[in-house]
Amino acid sequence: MITKDVAIIIPVYNEAEVVAAVIKRVLKHYKYVVCVNDGSKDTSSEEIQKTKAYLVEHPINMGQGAALQTGIEFARTLPVKYFVTFDADGQHRLEDAEKMVSILRKGNQDIIMGSRFLGTAPGIKASKVVVLKLAIKFSNFTSGLKLTDTHNGLRAFNRKVAEGMQITLPDMAHASEILEIIAQKKYRYKEIPVTIEYTDYSKGKGQSIINAVNIGFDTLLRKFIR
């Protein structure tokens, strides 16, 4: 069974090694896969073109948040009802995405987010747990929501949220921004446990701890300007 009313949105930046395999895995279950190549310096673009996924090419590197926004805007033009954001390095499981969409289909929620702390994350580094826990406290504080995992790339939402989403923070700070949008527009949200499979490949690509300073500064500054 191939699902035809869901668009899987995958932001891609320098993922040539794994991206084609991840896309092929997703395409087995979903008709619409939208990849946004965020100005990769490697052969990610060629790898994506080998598959049947839609490819949107950023002319310059703009950051993951900007790539998500582009993917959402492209996916809006497709005949789909639901939208799923998915990481290109293959750390998310399709079963989890499927579960999220099935909750959306019941119509009581607008956006479903994955939480690795409700679920499991085998192989996660202890230092990453500490940083993530701080990030969660911070994001809950700035957005006013109560979540157990605020920086999880796996999210599913309906068309109302897709039409209303306007991410302006280009880098990892978009995770906090999405939560602020959810709080502001009063979307009905739910968290479900998901499993994140940390491979050596995905571990090597994680966020550096010091970057949290940038994210925190930008998010607070925004808050202050508003």
Binding site: V36, Y54, V56, E57, H58, T70, F74, T77, I225
Partner: protein
């Protein structure tokens, strides 16, 4: 008297930071920035021509030496400048991103039309 200058510097610093943050680049905000820049330039010329004057002003404000007063003024001016610049740069990046996104979407939609 010491307290007076301390309060004054902190207040001016806060006003500049808030003005830099809240100011949405309106005409009046840009005009005030230019006026502030000119005043700073004039003050610099005066300070060079009459070095003793900075001391007089500093003493009147309760700061020990003119050099200290200069340092305070410059620090406040620099923080205001840096924040203002950072925010402008972010706005420009946002505009650039929107433009690039439009280009990317137009190109992709045209490609998949067939």
């Amino acid at each position: 008297m010491i307290i007076l200058i301390q309060i004054a510097v902190i207040l001016v610093a806060l006003v500049i930071i808030v003005a830099a943050l809240v100011g949405k680049q309106s005409h009046s905000a840009r005009a005030w920035k230019k006026i502030a820049l000119c005043l700073l330039a004039v003050a610099m010329i005066v300070a060079v021509l009459f070095p003793s004057m900075t001391n007089t002003v500093a003493n009147a404000l309760g700061v020990g030496r003119g050099a200290d007063l200069l340092l305070y003024v410059l620090t406040v001016a620099f923080i205001g400048y840096a924040l203002n610049n950072y925010l402008q740069q972010q706005n420009q990046r946002d505009e650039l991103n929107r433009l690039a996104r439009k280009v990317a979407l137009l190109e992709a939609i045209a490609r998949y039309k067939n």
